[in-house]
Symmetry: C5
Subunit: 308 residues, 5 copies
């Protein structure tokens, strides 16, 4: 999600609270309680088992594996997020290019064909968004496509792919009517291929999470690290332990949580991609190019200060 337009820090703090901090609060609480307990128990433990005190040295060793796990997960998650964003950017770019081709090649006399090609792309963007979020795309399809096409597409399993098939058939028909040349059909076909790549890439990102074993290994290492930490700190820095160990746990759990959140960038959490806003940009930009007299759609409303 892009929270650009609402950059007042109070709202953002709220948003952030709403997403990451709220989810890691239980773990932080546990670390805090254990810290207090460890500080209280230290003299008693030292009395009972002299020489069995945990110091900070093993944490440097564990830190090694942790740094590899967290750094790896972090960059992989961000790459997934950014790759997804790039493909949606590519969707906008190619929709504009295809629209430019349609508008400059197909004569304004064939208004229906022009309108179908442009609205078909808008519907394509919306249906891809709905597929990635497991929403119902029917309302957008009905709004943008001829009735029988909307019905046919609506009943398909892979709606965006079927929409591209329909766009391909429409372009092919325009070619058979002699409205566009063989070469111009090929140019449009190339744009359709790129849109097809966007669908495939988004399905790939949505359908292939980071191998689950990484998740398990990372979670366990962070957990053990943060739970053992107070034991080692309490014998060394005393009552500063709860403060320091909760803060260290906050950074590690936060890093883990944000990584998990953006690894699946098509959700509706505050740090996910604002697919709704991107679809809105696509619709506005294509309609402006088509210049069909209709009012442009309204700006999307943020919910809880966050665009979705």
């Amino acid at each position: 999600m892009i929270i650009r337009p609402h950059k007042s820090s109070l709202q953002l703090l709220f948003v952030w609270h709403g997403s990451i901090l709220r989810r890691i609060l239980p773990q932080l609480g546990i670390v805090f309680v254990i810290s207090v307990f460890c500080v209280l128990a230290t003299p008693w433990w030292a009395h009972l088992f002299p020489g069995e005190v945990l110091n900070l040295q093993p944490f440097t060793l564990m830190g090694l594996a942790l740094a590899i796990f967290l750094g790896f997960r972090n960059s992989v998650s961000y790459n997934r997020f950014w790759e997804a964003r790039q493909h949606w950017g590519s969707l906008l770019i190619n929709a504009r290019s295809l629209t430019r081709q349609v508008l400059s090649l197909v004569s304004p006399l064939h208004a229906d064909c022009r309108r179908h090609m442009v609205n078909g792309q808008i519907a394509f963007a919306h249906s891809l968004r709905h597929q990635l979020r497991n929403d119902d795309a029917q309302a957008d399809l009905d709004r943008l496509l001829p009735a029988e096409v909307a019905a046919r597409i609506g009943s398909a399993r892979f709606k965006p792919a079927m929409l591209l098939l329909w766009l391909g058939e429409t372009a092919s028909q325009a070619h058979r009517h002699g409205w566009i040349s063989d070469l111009q059909l090929q140019s449009m076909d190339r744009s359709l291929c790129t849109l097809s790549e966007v669908v495939g890439a988004c399905e790939r990102i949505a359908g292939t999470p980071i191998p689950y074993t990484y998740h398990v290994l990372l979670n366990r290492t962070v957990m053990v690290y943060c739970l053992l930490l107070p034991m080692a700190l309490s014998s060394s820095i005393g009552w500063l332990t709860p403060l320091i160990s909760t803060f260290i746990a906050y950074t590690f759990f936060g890093l883990d949580e944000i990584g998990e959140e953006i690894a699946d960038p098509f959700g509706v959490q505050p740090n996910d991609l604002a697919l709704g806003a991107i679809c809105h940009t696509i619709e506005t930009s294509l309609r402006e190019m088509l210049d069909d007299g209709d009012a442009l759609p309204l700006e999307p409303e943020p919910r809880h200060f966050v665009l979705h």
Copy 2:
């Protein structure tokens, strides 16, 4: 493998147990036994060889090489996994694009040609999967291709490449019959070239493992590191040694094992790519586009909660 649809943690734990933990249990056991032995031997050793005690400092130095090895192996393995996934995604994308081209360019009158082109691509996906897993592709070839073609492809050494050759000949024939234009043949040829890239890239990943020397160096470093660790820890944290050193060994051996598993992403282990499920998506999507009246294939059944 994608375990998306079965995200209950109990099953996943089972899966994970079945793959990584089971394989590193022997090493963990050895580390645990050595730890206990070291704690018991520490006073005796200190008595016999005063001043010859191993402390944790050399482990920071070894940790340097270990971090470079493990971080490198980890990211290289994941890149191989992800590159393989991207090529299979590209297979889906291009199969859809080629199907779209076939269906919008070749008239429905030539139903045989359309069916051959689409089924040929489905057979191509299956035969690539079988080649990468050293399975027998004949059943899928017989199911999808005309009998004499299935026989010819089935006896070839490089089945997917021969299938692309056959698809190229079929398209070329359609062109000679005048069903598609010169330019449309070129568009299809470009899609065939991309499918050819997928074959070549998958063969490259399957045939060129990470240089074996890395494997040897990494395994030895991890092994020596984890076996010496209890000696150093026991003189410092006493009876906490078995717990801590087994946990540290768990993270390092686990990181080593997962890296080795996903470095060869075409296997049938739980963290490998679910080629079967991807082939199923390709078959379903292409058949839906072809709309040939046949029932779509059933969803693949997970074995031991894992798709293959």
Copy 3:
């Protein structure tokens, strides 16, 4: 911004002062004051709470998360900066290629068409710059385009996209007049597609900041790290604390600040891209190719020693 031509260190120092150091001075001041206070308070604290002294060990643990955050943010920011630069480089490359195509394919008899195509691209570069910086593009549009076109583009929401649409129409017209062949129109269309990619990519970079949560996590970790540091150092190195801790804070705050500055590379801060200078290069190079007798534009003037 590129400060190549003014490499005298005094000016650069000034520039740098003007941007990074000035913004982190308040934080550095706070760290310095806290350092002095800690050194003075150390004996008094040690007397009151013996055994409650913060040492440097927890900072190694915090340093782990910090290194991951800072390294990640740093490379992501630079990649955004460099990707933006690459797209503007691609703009120059494709503008030159399209101009070469126009000049070698369209006969000099159709001087208007040639001039429109070339000036349209210059206007495109300027309008993209103005859109990314939220400036008013009208002056440049009026200077370079026919009056009615300048008015139409000036009132659009997505000016660069509309300009490409106009360029596409102009090329399409040239094709209808028979000045360029079908194939040559396709070549130009491909160049327009690449220009469209530049617009989309720049909009993507400008519109999708690094997830805000990273920003919050990073800022807090750096802040807590630098504020606690003097407490730990004062008990160990005494009056050297203010010097050392201010210097360490300087490197961390500086690294944070530069990362934030170049993460949004389209601004007008000294380390941002000198879009004005790049636009000037594009205009000069294209006009030189067109060779239209007009004087080439003047070199852009640096403000405060910095090109914008």
Copy 4:
């Protein structure tokens, strides 16, 4: 080199011994001797120069530069190795695509043209291999090409580039005879361009080593680090020094050596690319597609358990 088919660990151990371990044995021996000497000299030194004892702290500082050097060299070397592998994969892919184009477009009546195009590509792969390894390509050229062509190519300085020129002329001739259309010639030309990219990229990798200064800096840092290490360890862990410091030296020298070996991936050392085996795959696959009745070539024989 790919040692896939010989995965018995004994042979691999042998191979590995033959390559890396044998070359770093002298350095390891020196470190071992110095270690023993240091342990013996420690009491004597401590007596003579009290307070002048080297501890392990400076090694953490040196370790910083070492980690940057080794990590950098390691990933750069591997990237060179993998990029080289990708280009050879691309050679296979494009040779297959071009063969597919030739076989489906050129009628079987023109058997000579088909055979020349296919054999020319096989000769191209072999001559590129020989150029990269500074071998004599004449035997393979004579075997695959018409006599006068083999003579002309054999006397050229840049054999693969001249072969592509000949393939381009052959295709151009087929076009002049009317066997392939203008558009089909263009498709083949594109494949030839990609083969040209492979040549250029391999020449680039072979001709531009990692800047030599990195080599010097890295070698010296590793050397000084490993030679000073025993002095610091001996005062701390006594007679365990020879064991530990030799092992640490083994990992660093091994990492340095493997990096150097795969940085130049076209050699004939065990970890280099098995260009011979790849050429064999290309020849087998293309001949199978051509189906010219000749026996397919034999599998390449591993020398000392290693394919070359």
Copy 5:
């Protein structure tokens, strides 16, 4: 620069001395002097300010920022170096492809056109080299181009771009004369577009250095780190300080210097790209393909054992 052919270590040592070591010698000298002074002053200081001794702990913290800076700068610099090399490789590849197209498509009857196209590309490579190094390209232009063209190009601001314009016009003329078809003109145009990309990319690398602030931050951190180091070491390892701290300074200053040198890969320092040698390869290879009877140019002479 590629020093491949002169790999005797004595010469290389000389080269290396000439470039990196000579430039960092002053800094190393300062560190050495400060080290000696610190060792002498340590007892006196400890007597005067007991408890105010700098130990090595703050250096671990500073090392964090240093590792991020140096690692980042190192990889960014190398990527610039390697990207520049790739573009020059791409220049060779595309010059060969365009030459192959010219030679196989344009009949030998039109010898002038063939010679102009090939020599124009050689002149293009030389003029790009001269532009990147701010040399005078006139001698090479006069040698390779017709007189009036050499004069026109020689007076242009962006010589390589103007040369591509001239090549485009020459190809366009060949098309108007009917020597090449529409489609073949398009193929050549695509090669010209790629050459245009090479120019743009090289201008981008040469014109956009790494943000200057990184340079300032890195230099200061390295400087402060190395100057404070002796103070901390002297109290711990005594008279070994000058040796160890000079060596550590050597690695850090060397890493800084090599990074700065290859970040601007178009210079004439020993580690820069040997553009002269690459241009020579391009000229030799293209002339061999053209086979115009002239003697091939001589091998470039290394100056001070270094190719430029």
